[in-house]
Structure formats: structure tokens, C-alpha cells
Amino acid sequence: MKKKPEKKEHTRNEKYADYVSKISPRGTFKPSLIWAFLIGGLICYIGELLFIMWGKVFPAYDKENIGTLASSSLVFLAAILTGIGIYDKIGNIAGGGSVVPITGFSNSMTSAAMEHRKEGIIFGTCANMFKIAGPVIAVGVALSMLVGTVYWVISLF
């Protein structure tokens, strides 16, 4: 049998890596947290206002339906803000504060769709729309299956 030639591994220069991580500037932790809290909180506040508003507009609807309406409105607003080039500026300041709420999901889809619209509707916009949001959906589906299974097992006893 032929012997496999030993592959020369590319070794990492650990000393250099340590030096670089020591010298590299880090994100400022405290201001980032405060901004994320403020803007993330503001988005949730707007969501709450929308919830109350839709509740007044459609008094016949139950809570779940009104909740859906409120989230859809937030998604719509974020998509508009992305389209006119404001959301990325908000995101630059807020960081996680504007990524975690549902508006961040809307932004990730809209921005990818806009970026690729010149490649056509099918292979550009549609194919690339979930480029960034895709992992969120995949993880969401997988986790909900897991949680569902756990619930089901618990319900057996």
C-alpha cells in the first residue's frame, strides 16, 4: 500500500496572535450596552404602542391576532427604513438593540433583497433574500422542533 505523504500543517504563530489580540482595539462595552438597551427598548415600546393602536382599531380581534398585526407593522416599518437607508445608521449605533427585535430580521431580508435586485427577480432578489436571515429561520425551526419534542415527552407523564 502506498504511504500517504505527510501533509505539512500550516502552523499558527501563537506569539503573534497573542500580540495582535493585545494591541487590537476592542469595542467599547458600556456605551454599546446602553445604546442597545435604549434603542432596543424604544423599538419594543413602539411595538407596544402599535399593539394598543391595533387593539383600538379592531376591537373584535383577539390578542393573538393583534399581536401579529403589531409585529407585521414593525416589519413593514423596518423594511421602509431600510429602503430609504436609515436602518443601517440606527444599527450602527444600536448594535444588538436593533438586530434582536423582529425589525432586525426585516432589515436583514430587505437589505439582502435590495443588494441583489440587479441580478434579476428570481436569481437575484428571491435567491439572496434569505442569505442573512436564513440561519435564523433554520435555527428557529430546529429549536422549535426540539422544544416541541420536549413538551410532548413531558406531556406523556
Partner: protein
Amino acid sequence: MKKQAAAATAGKKQIGQTIFLENAPCIIGSFSVAGKKESEGPLGKTFNKIVDDEYFGEKTHEAAEQQMFEMAIAGAIRDAGLHPEDINMLLSGDLLNQITSSSFAARSFDISFVGLYGACSTMALTLGIGAALVDAGFREKVVVSAGSHFATAERQYRTPLELGNQRPPVSQWTVTGCGACVLSLRENPPKNKSHITGNPRERHTDKCVPRITAVTFGKVRDWGTLDPNNMGAAMAPACCATLVAHFKDTGTTPQNYDAIFSGDLGKLGETIMRDLMANENYPLDARYSDCGRMIYSEKQNPYQGGSGCGCSAVTLNGFIMNKLRSGEYKKILFVATGALLSPVSSFQGNTIPGIAHAIVIES
């Protein structure tokens, strides 16, 4: 054959990684095109042409980049007082997949074309190879160019433009700009430049002609930087290796040059570079600066500074070329640096190799 090779080394055409250009090709024309953000930076006044529209009047950013290349190449030929039919060869490169911007721009010129890729080091790569071709007498007049566009580079290497994410503080900002030079053995005869139209930024009083006297082609260095945002750290070892090889091959020290410019290491990379060179016993003083750090002001929030092929290309063909032509710089070293990564390689967990090529320009 062997005799020939021996003769070549005896005449000291090459030592180590460095080739010496006995005929010292002249840079007879140069042109730089830059975008809006670059024009607002400290070097804004040195660029030949500023285009405020990020689309350059085209429909896509890719077409804009191509348009930018055409502008720079045509501009450099015009600056040399020549016409495209006088040029024998075009060497060009950019950052996009399959270097489409360069090759698509080459459609507009009836000139033999060679596309080159050296990531952000492309300006030095095309300049070095072009100078070697001219020096050896294979080609009489060669145009070399390199450039990049912020929006196309973001799309290729990072995330959509409108995505609301935060950039890490070590990241850099890709320069929208393109630079081109015309190389020739013979100096420009003082031709009537009356056919040059339009731009008041174009210089008419050049005291000196910059000449390329030596080129050091670098080796790929990978010290294991994994973060694709931290390109300064990935490229600094390559830049250091090329500089050390250059100083050893030529028997010079940093003090022999009026200025040393690295391509796009950025603020952080420049600091690393100074430390690395001090370790190699070639400490760099105030003569050394980095194009990436120079091109934007602190106010413009470029994080660590500019990057991309365009960064070193517009700085060379703007700021540096002006100083060479006015005679302020007599001898400079231009080291453009490149991070040879692709989005796929980073996702697959590969480290980032760096490359750097050094060019000596005297005037």
C-alpha cells in the same frame, strides 16, 4: 542558456527577491479617480478626478467600478500626452471575482491586456511587472492600473450595504478609487498638451520625471491571522518580510529613502509594522506612513483606515506622484500590501495569507 543566466546575475539585474531596472522606466503619465468620501479626506485635493455619484452614472456598482477604470486608464494616457493606440500593453487588476472590472474596462481599449490579481497589493504588482516589461524592452509603452469600489467590495467580502450591523473596531473601509500610470523608457517630449481637455486639476508644471529603479516581489506570509476584519494584522508580516528582503538585497536602510509608504495596513497595521520592523533591526521613523491611514481623517470614522486596491493606487497616483514630480521626494519606497483571502476561505476557517511588493521610485 546557462551562460545567459550567469551573465544576467553578473550584471546584477537581480539579487534575491529584487530586480534592478537598469533603464529605469519613467512614469510619464498618471491619473487618479476617487469617490466622494475620499475627496473629503486629507488627500482629497491631490486626486485628478472626483466623482460624487457612487454609481458613476451607471446602473450597478459593478458597472461603476468598470467606468472608474476606464476613466483612470484614459486619464493616464491623456496625461502622458498620448493616445490609446500608442500604448502596447495594459496591466490591470481589482478585487472582484474573476477581476471583471479590469477586464470589462479593457473592452474599451484596443490594447493587449493582462489581468493580474494581488488583492490590495495590485497597484505595486502591475507597476512592478509593467516596469520590468518596459525595462527589458519587450513593450514600449505600458499602462498599469488598479482600483476598488466600496460597494462592490462590501458585497463580495462582507454584508449588504443596508444591513444594520456594527463593524468591529479593527475593520477598514474599502476605498472607492482607481489609479493608473503610463510607463515608458523615454521621457515625455514636451509635447503640446492642448488636446488635454477639461480638468483643471491636471498638472502642467512638472519639474521631475519619476523613474522606477528597483522592484522587490514579496513572498506570501501567513502568521495565522483568522479574523477577516483584521487585515492589517494579516498583512503586516508580509509587508515586513518584503521590506527586510528589499533592504538586504539593495544594501539600503529606511534612512536611504525620503519616504516609505505601505499600502493599506491601516492604523493598527502601521503600529504592528513599526514593531515588527524594530524587531528586525530596521526601525521605521516618521518617513514611514501608511496610505490606508492617510487617506481618511479621524472625523470620517473609517475605523482603522482605508483598504482595497484603490487605497494605494489613488495615493500613489495622487499625493505621492505630485510630490515626486515637484521634486520634493527624490527616492521613495512604495510597498502595497494584500490580504489573499476569499469569503469562502474565511468561512472554512483558513488563516489569511498576506503579500507585499515593493517598488523604488526615484525622480
